[in-house]
Amino acid sequence: MLNFSLPKLEIGEAIEWLVRWIIANLSVIFDVIKNILNSITGALNDGLLAIPTIILIIIFALGVWLLTSKTTALLSFTGLVLIWNIGLWPQMISTLVLVVVSVVIALLIGIPTGILMTRSSKLETAMRPVLDFMQTMPPFVYLIPAVMLFGIGVVPGLFATIIFAVPPPVRLTYLGITQVPEDMKEMAVAFGASDRQVLRKVELPLSLPSIMTGVNQCIMLGISMVVIASMIGAGGLGAEVMRAVNRLDLAHGFESGLAIVVLAIVLDRVSRNIGSGKTTPAGRIIEYLKKHRKAKLESRVSQI
């Protein structure tokens, strides 16, 4: 019988070596990033907590009303009051800040990447396996390099969340743009549009629903990751859940979980409604202003 052993491929070690090399040589950069992110999240947190809770809740509800509808706004209001009532308001704010900051960064990376993929088929073929990898790798794994690079705290949580949440906006931006009908693009080119104008005036507006689905998924993944990120000290509602698990405190665990659910529902409804083409109070206001201006313009034209 043949019996020889293949040497083990040192893939994991290679990655570890890479991360260690980065830490050894580029730690300055990571310190800078860390400081910037820390101060941004800190400032947002402090700022939001400085506003009296009830006023902030009303502001949030109003915002939800503008972007969705009355019922969703009422629902959000009730949910937020509930969170306040169970005493998880500061934790909710810190989770919200974490989600918002990581989603914004994920979108700033994801949407341009998706756009670039539509321009270069090489990049597209290269990105495909990377995205698959990012989406199927268990999210806990991201915590390890995050901690190695940034230590314990909010910033590694952000880092892991961003990596986890970035694939949907990339994919859906790419998908949306590639689905824009060829004749619309041709029309724009025939009217003298540059590549940039085709992108801005045709491709992006027409793929907005798809891109917004990507944004929505990004937010949802962000929220789920924030809970996991609490394991490395990101704080917020996730940390409350972890504490409850460690103490087998069902009541507290349920309450913290409920708060996360409320936050998730509010963010989901709002992000889902933007770009879905449904009329919203904000949309109606904009429409009204536009009409008003057009009417004024027309009367001026007819006077001439």
Binding site: V189, F191, G192, L206, K294
Partner: protein, 401 residues
């Protein structure tokens, strides 16, 4: 004076690495041979034409004949593989990106078959789209777009969304969007193709009225012969990427350059609907197989022909006889011609017109049309096609010109 638009030996082959295909084309290989050998489609096969300022130039041809391809070479949406396309004497294929964008944004506007109206913008912003790309201020472009919409009769629809408009209205929007650019060349790719007959006729009328006022240079693609004849100052007939003939409607109708054009003029629409039986005519004379040589010769003389179809019982086609075969019999005072009956060129009555053409071309004499039982239904001569078309038109269409 130089022509407004001029194509010189313009060849367009789709795909990359067109070198080999172009070589084959230059050696005179046909489109299908080039496709077979290289896998590349020859879109335009050496087009030469000039369009004068203020003229409506129509490109017509069957589907796939390269009309759209040729049209898209004019504003550089497609670049010629070889040859040249000049607009106001400047070669489009030599222009850089900036120049091309200026050409498209200021001097040439296009109207599309399927409207290509942006669904996320209301009507006025769709019409103002080109001006927006040009960087015109919002108020100025709305004022101009609004004027253009008035001119196509859509003044009340400015703030509607495209979904709320009918096909005819959408095409007016497309027209307004092109007109507002005030460019002097208008490219129209089957602009009325998606409209029903009535609205189509209306739009054609409007285009002509408009053209009388604005006098643009228009290149108009269609596959409808009536439309081409009605609108075109000059018409180019395309086939397999090549231009078969260019001329005014009268010139083309009076003197088709070749058989293809002739068939195209007579058969284009009719050929899809009519079959051999419906266009066949009863011949002026026939002869029954029981009749005599002298009767047959008499009838030939009377109708000034040298052959007759022979029928048997129940109008079954037996064949045909020619005068050359009968004359010796007549000398021998033989009465029956049964021995000299030849096989006739027949065609089944349900053959569609398009397939009648090649049959007819290969046959010296008229074709006998028979039903599935071999019964004689009539004849198709080389003249029948033209006559049947004239009858169908009932004097409108062509006569109107």
């Amino acid at each position: 004076m130089t022509a407004k638009i001029e194509a010189k030996n313009l060849v367009k082959i789709y795909g990359n690495n067109t070198g080999e295909a172009l070589e084959l084309f230059n050696q005179g290989y046909s489109r299908s041979e080039i496709l077979k050998q290289t896998g590349l489609t020859l879109g335009v096969a050496g087009a030469n034409f000039e369009v004068a300022e203020g003229e409506i130039f129509v490109l017509i041809g069957l589907s796939g004949s390269g009309k759209s391809t040729l049209l898209r070479c004019i504003n550089g949406l497609l670049m010629p593989t070889s040859g040249s396309l000049l607009v106001d004497g400047n070669a489009v294929e030599k222009m850089g990106g900036k120049e091309l964008r200026r050409l498209r944004g200021e001097r040439i506007s296009m109207v599309f078959q399927h409207f290509a109206i942006l669904p996320n913008r209301n009507i006025i912003d769709n019409v103002a789209f080109g001006l927006e790309l040009r960087g015109v201020e919002r108020e100025a472009r709305w004022a101009e777009a609004s004027e253009a919409l008035d001119s196509v009769g859509l003044g009340d629809w400015k703030n509607k969304m495209p979904q709320e408009l009918s096909g005819g209205m959408k095409q007016r929007v497309g027209l307004a969007r092109a007109l507002v650019m005030e460019s002097d060349i208008l490219l129209m790719d089957e602009p009325f193709g998606a409209l029903d007959a009535l609205i189509r006729a209306e739009m054609q009328e409007e285009l002509l009225t408009l053209q009388r006022e604005i006098k643009k240079t228009v290149v108009f693609v269609t596959h409808d012969l009536d439309e081409a004849l009605r609108l075109g100052d000059r018409i180019a007939i395309m086939r397999d990427g090549a231009i078969e003939q260019i001329g005014t409607a009268d010139e083309i109708l009076a003197e088709p350059a070749n058989e293809y054009v002739e068939q195209f003029l007579t058969g284009i629409d009719v050929s899809k609907i009519l079959d051999a039986a419906s266009i066949s005519k009863w011949p002026r004379e026939l002869v029954r197989d029981s009749e005599s040589v002298s009767v047959a010769l008499h009838r030939m003389k009377k109708t000034d022909t040298d052959y007759l179809f022979v029928t048997g019982q129940r109008r079954k086609l037996v064949g045909m006889i020619t005068r050359d075969d009968l004359l010796p019999l007549s000398k021998k005072r033989q009465t029956s011609f049964k021995d000299v009956i030849r096989e006739a060129n027949t065609i089944p009555g349900d053959t569609i017109m398009r397939d009648v053409f090649p049959e007819l071309r290969h046959s010296e004499r008229a074709l006998a049309v028979v039903d599935e039982n071999g019964r004689f239904l009539g004849v198709i001569t080389h003249n029948t096609l033209v006559e049947s078309l004239d009858e169908r038109k009932g004097g409108d269409g062509i006569a109107e010109l």
